[in-house]
């Protein structure tokens, strides 16, 4: 059994807002759902599968009701919650459900307002008494990974800075990007240290907003008007300290999700023309590129340097919308926007200045949770048909 080629992404929508104090979170979900449904050219009453994660107010059943989905038709729901990569996992699960005949048109939504107000806390895990007092935040959890990566492999702040530089080169063409100014390695190094060794410019933005997908069968996708983009490989994985044995923070669960996805797709990293890589921090990108096999472990620093991730300049154009480092990071969850830009690239709908020529194979990869503590990862390989 495989999901290879059994599900197509027929509709996408990214909310243009980056700050939405005048809207409700549920409203943002409805706006992105409407956007993706209209992009696909279907009716909301055709939706028979709904996927959402922890950002959806109340979870799946209040959202299905609020969104006015057709409950006579809706026959599959999935509220898998794995932080920022939830939506990449949803894409794979939607393909599984479609392949199994459990639904034919799946809607995936993400939306929220961390820039406007405080996000609701996550339920505590079994580790709570042994960790919560130590104040692991995104910044320092990723800082711990970067510190150890530098120690083990000689990775430098200059090399990490190149990731932000590349994102900024792309963001200048995105009218919705929060940070449109092109920055230099020196700019990154001169920005204030937030949590050693990560500077402010090593960190992504905080933004309101959201995005949505329509995933459907090959037959339905072919009956619609959009360029055809299909999922040919998918992987998911999790990693944590697991009792503290052989702790190694220099790799992520991408070392497992990536090969699973590539094997299913029957391709290798060399075949990828465009990469959406979750960029909560610069170190996130560097570690994931290694873990996915774009370079050897420990050589990520050399790989990202000198503009290698800049579209039209380097060998692996990444995050051509400006990514989380420059464009947006809706709900502090970057998985959805990674899929959206990959689909735009495959459709040929990216900004002309960053559009990858003959882009037929793309990867969208993300993590969720804290890379330095415990996290999930998911990899999707997409093909233009």
């Amino acid at each position: 059994m495989t999901i290879k080629g059994k599900a197509y992404i027929a509709g996408i929508y990214e909310h243009p807002t980056r700050h939405a104090p005048d809207k409700s979170t549920a409203q943002l979900h409805a706006e992105v759902a409407k956007g993706a449904i209209e992009d696909a050219g279907i009716s909301k009453d055709d939706v028979d599968g709904y996927f959402c994660a922890g950002d959806a107010p109340g979870g799946a059943w209040p959202m299905v009701d609020y969104l006015g989905l057709n409950t006579k038709k809706l026959r599959h729901v999935d509220s898998t919650e794995t932080g920022g990569c939830s939506y990449i996992i949803h894409l794979g699960h939607a393909a599984e459900a479609i392949a199994a005949g459990k639904c034919s048109i799946a809607l995936v939504t993400l939306a929220g307002k961390p820039r406007t107000g405080v996000m609701p806390p996550r339920a505590a895990g079994a580790e709570v008494d042994f960790e919560s007092a130590y104040g692991a935040t995104t910044h320092n959890a990723y800082g711990m990974c970067a510190m150890r990566h530098m120690h083990d492999y000689g990775t430098t702040s200059e090399q990490l800075a190149w990731i932000k530089v590349a994102a900024s080169h792309h963001a200048q063409y995105n009218p919705h990007a929060m940070l449109k100014d092109v920055v230099t390695v020196e700019d990154v190094l001169n920005s204030p240290m937030i949590s050693d060794p990560l500077h402010r410019m090593d960190c992504c933005v905080v933004s309101d907003g959201g995005g949505a997908l329509i995933v459907t069968t090959p037959e339905i996708a072919k009956s619609l008007k959009k360029p055809l983009v299909r999922l040919i490989g998918h992987g998911e994985a999790m990693k944590g300290p697991r009792g503290g044995k052989d702790l190694d923070l220099t790799y992520s669960a991408g070392v497992w999700s990536g090969p699973r996805a590539f094997e299913e797709a029957g391709i290798t990293p060399k075949d990828i023309k465009y990469a959406s890589i979750y960029d909560s921090f610069t170190i996130t990108v560097l570690m994931q590129l290694e873990d996915l096999g774009f370079c050897k472990k420990g050589e990520g620093g050399k790989f990202v340097a000198d503009g290698n991730l800049i579209s039209g300049v380097g060998k692996l154009p990444f995050n051509t919308d400006g990514g989380g480092l420059c464009s947006n990071h809706p709900v502090n969850r970057g998985g959805m926007t990674k899929i959206l830009e990959a689909v735009r690239q495959l459709r040929g709908e990216a900004h002309p200045k960053v559009q990858v020529r003959n882009c037929d194979l793309a990867i969208a990869h993300g993590t969720g949770g804290l890379l330095g503590v415990r996290h999930a990862a998911s990899t999707a390989i997409l093909e233009r048909v």
Binding site: A126, E127, V128, D129, F130, E131, S132, A133, Y134, G135, A136, T137, H139, N140, A141, G143, M144, C145, A146, M147, R148, H151, P192, M193, I194, S195, D196, P197, L198, P241, R242, G243, G244, K245, L247, L249, G372, V373
Partner: protein, 129 residues
């Protein structure tokens, strides 16, 4: 800086109560599985490695080395250094480093456990040995 910080009291539960009772005596406990011989942290009743339920409490030396760290400079409660310590007994534990110059922490540095009070059981932290 961190001396003045107020730490939350552990909630505790039946699985971990013995750890916190020992902490009140200044003892830093880990769990060891008598079936596979592996030590782990934080403590569980079922061994995460071999799934045996033959896990026993063991007082750890409280000594270890810094695996990694990060100094959080932007925080409403003041700067603090989070990190992992690899204990002499094997497991790596998440912690904060205290009672030292946080700018001078180094991977590989030797550290030892020190308990800090809360409104409940004290919490383990690490400081240069």
């Amino acid at each position: 800086m961190s001396e003045a910080k107020k730490y939350p009291a552990p909630v505790t539960n039946p699985e971990t109560a013995a750890f916190w009772d020992a902490a009140k005596q200044g003892k830093f406990m880990i769990k060891r599985c008598t079936a596979c011989g592996e030590a782990h942290y934080f403590p569980r009743s079922i061994c995460p490695f071999c799934y045996s339920d033959k896990t026993v409490w063991e007082q750890a030396s409280g000594e270890g080395t810094i695996y990694t760290w990060s100094l959080m400079r932007k925080s409403p409660t003041g700067p603090y250094a989070i990190g992992y310590v690899t204990l002499k007994e094997g497991p790596s534990v998440q912690t904060n480093f205290v009672d030292c110059d946080l700018e001078k922490l180094k991977i590989g540095q030797k550290v030892k456990v020190v308990f800090k009070p809360t409104d409940g059981a004290p919490l383990p932290f690490f400081t240069p040995a």
